[in-house]
């Protein structure tokens, strides 16, 4: 299950939801799979949460033994709306019509494009560390890059790049140049250092934020304030216990496909986002 979910990324960070520890619980009963995921804060962007939920469902549905998938976001301001919308195969723009003026297609595109550049930056930096020159790197074809992946320890970064090279960078046959702009234009050797600097900056901003997310998520699981009594005054009708108390559950570090929890969905954490 973790392998199936691994390619699903947080679009803004281009890191796997599994590596980011977002997966909180996986339940399997026959062909039915139920996944709970939790983001680093109660306030993480609803549109990205929606994208991740959709992508998780799609990734798990692709397994041939799976007959039914439910994906549930927990501990989030928009959990109720997102979970209901995802379960109904609705669209983000429909569910959040009063709060957004566009669909998620443009947003997905923006961040996929950034991910392409970020992944390219990772491959090029790895090649430079392995002793490749700028000219050598720019001359590499997709076929040669596939060969390098097979015979070096760069398979991970190269495969991630090639996954998106089908979508961006123009023609993607084995004899085509591997590294091009997203629009498919060649990169001039003279402009290469500037180009590299630009795309490295994009990648690092996302990486730094990824680190922040991991730290927030760990803190959220570890040191969250316990004050059930203090919350009672105004929140009693919507919420029985504060988030920290409600879901001390299993973290993804020790989730396995055999973890079938009997814990019912935590109704207190969902459906209260209005």
């Amino acid at each position: 299950m973790r392998r199936a979910l691994a390619p699903v990324t947080d679009p803004e960070l281009d890191q796997s939801v599994v590596d980011l520890d977002f997966i909180q619980r996986i339940e399997i009963a026959g062909g039915a799979v139920a996944i709970d995921f939790r983001l680093p804060t109660f306030w993480c962007s609803a549109n990205f949460a929606w994208i991740m939920a959709e992508d998780m469902r799609e990734a798990v549905s692709a397994l041939d033994w799976v007959t039914d998938v439910s994906v549930r976001l927990v501990d989030h301001f928009a959990a109720g709306k997102i979970n209901a919308g995802i379960a109904a195969f609705s669209q983000f723009g429909t569910e959040f019509a009063s709060e957004t003026d566009r669909s998620l297609i443009g947003l997905r595109e923006t961040f996929r494009r950034k991910a392409f550049l970020g992944r390219m930056s990772a491959v090029i930096e790895a090649l430079k560390r392995a002793g490749w020159t700028g000219e050598g790197i720019l001359a590499l074809t997709i076929g040669e890059l596939i060969g390098l992946a097979a015979e070096s320890d760069l398979a991970g970064v190269i495969d991630r790049f090639l996954d998106l090279r089908q979508t961006y960078g123009g023609a993607a046959g084995r004899t085509d140049t591997a590294f091009r702009t997203p629009e498919g234009e060649a990169i001039e050797a003279s402009a290469f250092p500037t180009f590299l600097r630009d795309i490295r900056m994009s990648r690092r901003g996302a990486e730094a934020n990824g680190e922040m997310c991991l730290m927030l998520l760990r803190a959220r699981s570890g040191v969250a304030p316990q004050e059930a009594g203090a919350l009672a005054t105004r929140c009693a009708s919507t919420m029985a216990t504060p988030p920290s108390v409600a879901t001390e559950a299993i973290t993804s570090r020790n989730v396995t496909a055999s973890d079938i929890s009997a814990t019912p969905p935590n109704a207190a954490m969902t459906g209260t986002d209005s």
């Binding site: 962007s45 549109n47 301001f77 959220r220 004050e227 919420m239």
Partner: protein, 339 residues
Amino acid sequence: MYLTNDGKKIFVIDGHVHLWDARPENRLNRYGFTFIETFWNAHNGLSPPDELRSWEWMQYQGPEQAMKDLFEDGNCDMAIVLPTYLREFYVNGFNTTEQNAALKEAAPEKVILCGRFDPREGEAGLDQLEADHARWKFRSVKLYTAEWRGESKGYSLKDDFVGAYLEKCRALGIDIVHVHKGPTIHPLNADAFDVRDVDHVATAFPDLKFVVDHCGLPRIDDFCWIASQEPNVYGGLAIVNSFIHARPRYFASMLADLLFFVGQDRLIFGSDYAIYTPGWLVDRFMRFEFDDETAKEAGTELTLDIKAKIVGLNAARLYGIQVPAGCHVAPPVERVRVS
């Protein structure tokens, strides 16, 4: 005032400070809890273990405690105190100009009080801005484009109702606009933390100066493009500089990019008090060095001049504050605009 090991006096302005009240009795709903919970987790995630504070402190500081944290233990000569109203989450607001004014009263010469407006408030909001300005005489405002207001879950500086407010600022002599553009906390409508709308107003109002708090993190790249083109855009380093302990490599690399693209004269230190405290942040920053590779990327070593600019001189220049005699000074540098 920060004193270096070799006895140089460094003038310090904390460019990003709040005093807030998130105590249970001030919370309007569960969002009031989750909001401060997120800050608490950020405090725990990035602070050194011996700088961790209590949950009670996180919820409420008050002027006396803030005086101690900022001006006694915090190395700060001055602090820019920014409001974040959040009236949808807190009975009396989370961190209003009125609350901040208590600190100003306690230390009038040390505190730069900042106003606010929400351009969705129409004519009444313009009148309120005028009344607030008459009362507190601030020359800067803080905007929080992702703030909820009724059905609206945020606005963009490109929205057509923003211009009238910036015109009003002009008329009142408010020429510095802090804009929160940072991580998490609910961007929804067309992504309210998207930093590119700053480009729009920075071009339309070249006489105003825009401080992009948190440098757009995680869209530091977008921020850098804008700031490199617009001379009236500044980078507020709050959160970015807080990586210095827990993730120093990321801090170094973000700062290198900012120095390279934005330059050493338009970056402003901010503790983001009370998520973090300036005491340890200023001290670690003043002792921070770039390795060779980072210095190459930044186009410069992290010199004493640059550090002094970031922790105080840049904010002093922006706000027209006289740096006390005897403090280390460094003039702005000519730089070739990155295109």
